[in-house]
Symmetry: C2
Amino acid sequence: MPNPRSDKGSSRERELVDMFWDAGFGVVRAPASGSATERPLPDLVAADGERTIAVEAKSSGDDSVYIEGREAEELIEFSRRFGARARIGVRFDREDWYFFHPGDLHVTGGGNYRVKLEKALQEGEDFHELVGESTQEKLDEVE
Amino acid sequence: MPNPRSDKGSSRERELVDMFWDAGFGVVRAPASGSATERPLPDLVAADGERTIAVEAKSSGDDSVYIEGREAEELIEFSRRFGARARIGVRFDREDWYFFHPGDLHVTGGGNYRVKLEKALQEGEDFHELVGESTQEKLDEVE
């Protein structure tokens, strides 16, 4: 049976793929987690020969987004192996995408990560900043 | 209904994912072609922070492998955008994987690419060579 919530998440994820594509990147969406592989995978990986970015994408109709601790750890582990910048991408209804390194997010008592709408608007990296940064920063962040 | 031929191809592709993983790479398998996206996608992308490799993987129980012209072109286009080395990976029964740049393959009258078993054994790059090469070669090949 269709799940409107995941369908929406998936459509938002395609929107992000389009944005990377339009910015000149090659983009791969990973198969849904929990499938054939047990290995860490982000939702998508985009690169343009200079910048490589792994994104765990979350959307919300509410004023907070939660990311499971395990998802954030897998994003970091994948990014370390692949040589990518690790980013949580958050998309609130009627807002743009904002991006955070997992290390910059609030960790709840239960070990999950939370992004509030206000924090996204005030402190998040927007798409333009994400794809416009220099290679040097990427190299510094890999470890 | 299960298709034994694609199941075998898929299992061979997982084998290749395992090899990259064991060599320290992060690996993403792209969703099956013809799905949600119309954009060029390889079968998998692997990177380790130095080397980035996009692979179209083909296996065969016969003594030749054919790659559609369109698949090879999409591999090249994706690799150009992503900044990856483009490789056709061929796996014949009871043999190892061998890799070729599409430009080094025989093009048939119909515009498809063909790799014969003997050519793979004699001229193909083996996995060790593929992952052990320097970054410089990668940069030279991007265009």
